[in-house]
Amino acid sequence: MADKVLTANRLSDGISVWLDAAGNWNESLQAAFVARHKEAVDALEATGKQAFADNKVVDVNVVDVEEVDGVLRPLRMRERIRADGPSIAYAAGYAGLTATAVPAA
């Protein structure tokens, strides 16, 4: 079984988040809690359903990851892009994220 993490988008701003070991939704995949056996995956799924029902997050999914040199990496490119952001610089002339970064909730 591939290692798994729980991901979703935050309801209020839609930003991609991952469930961490403390049960919080974190904006970094690297902070995610990794489920390595079936019981842990079941727990992730239950947590995801509850968080969706509680209107904290939407589009909740369990996704496959691997750990390479201590860094979590989703197996699917779609999930890698969700974790890392667009693989491109934004529009020509765009000043960079720092000026307009979305603050952590």
Binding site: I15, S87, Y90
Partner: protein
Amino acid sequence: MYRYDEFDHAFVAGRVEQFRDQVERRLAGELAEDAFKPLRLMNGVYLQLHAYMLRIAIPYGTLSARQMRMLAHIGRKYDRGYGHFTTRQNIQFNWPKLSEIPDALADLATVEMHALQTSGNCIRNVTADHFAGAAADEVADPRPYAEILRQWSSVHPEFSFLPRKFKIAVTGAERDRAAIQVHDIGLHLKKNDAGEIGFAVYVGGGQGRTPMVAKKIRDFLPEEDLLSYTTAIMRVYNLHGRRDNKYKARIKILVHETGAEELSRQVEAEFAELKNTELKLPEADIAAISAYFAPPELPARAEGWANLAGWKKADPAFADWVRQNVQPHKHPDYGMVTISLKPIGGIPGDATSEQMEAVADIAEDYALDEIRVSHEQNLILPHVALADLEAVYRGLVAAELATANAGLITDIIACPGLDYCALANARSIPVAQEISTRFGSPERQAEIGELKIKISGCINACGHHHVGHIGLLGVEKKGAELYQITLGGSGDENTSIGEIIGRGFEPEKVTDAIEVIVDTYLGLRLDPSETFLAAYRRVGPQPFKDALYGDKTAEAA
């Protein structure tokens, strides 16, 4: 351009407040996602990979400077300082917070804009020729009819829950710049022998997973029958269109399964019932809407001819830009300017808030306050005096918007792809960037000539790959991206769907494959006046297959 009346203002303001209440209830947990999702979609709010996305309607692609400034403001205040102009002549913002979208919509309403019907199974934003009202080859301005259709279709109770989304495009010229034959309904404005205005009506075109060229079901529909005939088509579709399978629910499938002749018979039967009802358009109503689109007064500016010759001689880059990005206007002293949103190596269709403001300033100073969005993801200034072209060019250079590539190989259409879109299977933008960079030199582009590359990151075909002279479709195969190439597509008056040339290419090989195709074309064309499309239609796919795959069998990916 059209100005809201009291009803329009009250209606849009009412919808904003309604949505504000819905968002507040959603955030308070009083509305579940299942109940809220259709409501947010009706207001143009999608959930994408990284965040929500707000798609704002730009009816028939027409904007004033004030409206463009508002889009810049939306980008700056509610997003990350940029927006993406789409193949539907709309704009999308990629990072708005749900909690702030009602405020963004309220701001938009102050300039008579909204995001209604940019999603959902309804009649979507009606699109039109981006040179409408200015093109020398135009029979009549298509925008009054697009506006009539917009008003008629806005929250139309009978057509708000169709089997699937529905797209209408209108052109007023023989040269089709609105791709009407790949729309659910395509309307071609024309005059009959008596000099009366009417439409050739096409039905059942579309791209997506089942690309179809529309069938003409009427040679000439009098303008007064526009709404009754369209209603007849919609009724036949609403009744018989499939609701059991999302992928077979568009009208193109109905037309295909029913046959154009039988479908036409059904439409005509329905039309006979509707023809002399309240749907008949009174001449006065057509005139009233047309008055909003009255051609601007264009004073003679004959001095521009001499000025232009001098400026071109003095500045070869300006001369290149004029040659490529300025088209003849119906008034000889004026031109239609294409502002390329395709900088070499850049992101097709993206513009920063600063760039939007620069375009607004230029439009106000030199272009009678009119801006258009083209379905090719560029901006247009439809009325610019030749005498003002140099000043316009300088302004565009300062805003990094003066790329001289309209219609050339680097003027690429690309959907947002997997970098943003929740539906995508592969990235589009980086592929466009690499192709643009590879072919970016002005000399090489000029040598290749007109060539339209269109890239989609999934089978839904928002990047119009089916009608690209060279089309690229990104798919996911064994967890990796792969790009299928089609050749010979075209979205103009001679519409054709591109043919898959063979097995797909990995991301790192796709630009090389494009180069092989381009070099093959350059080697076999009769002379430089034979475009890529003309050459392909003459020789067919085989020389390109041979060049790409050699002796190996070219199996479709």
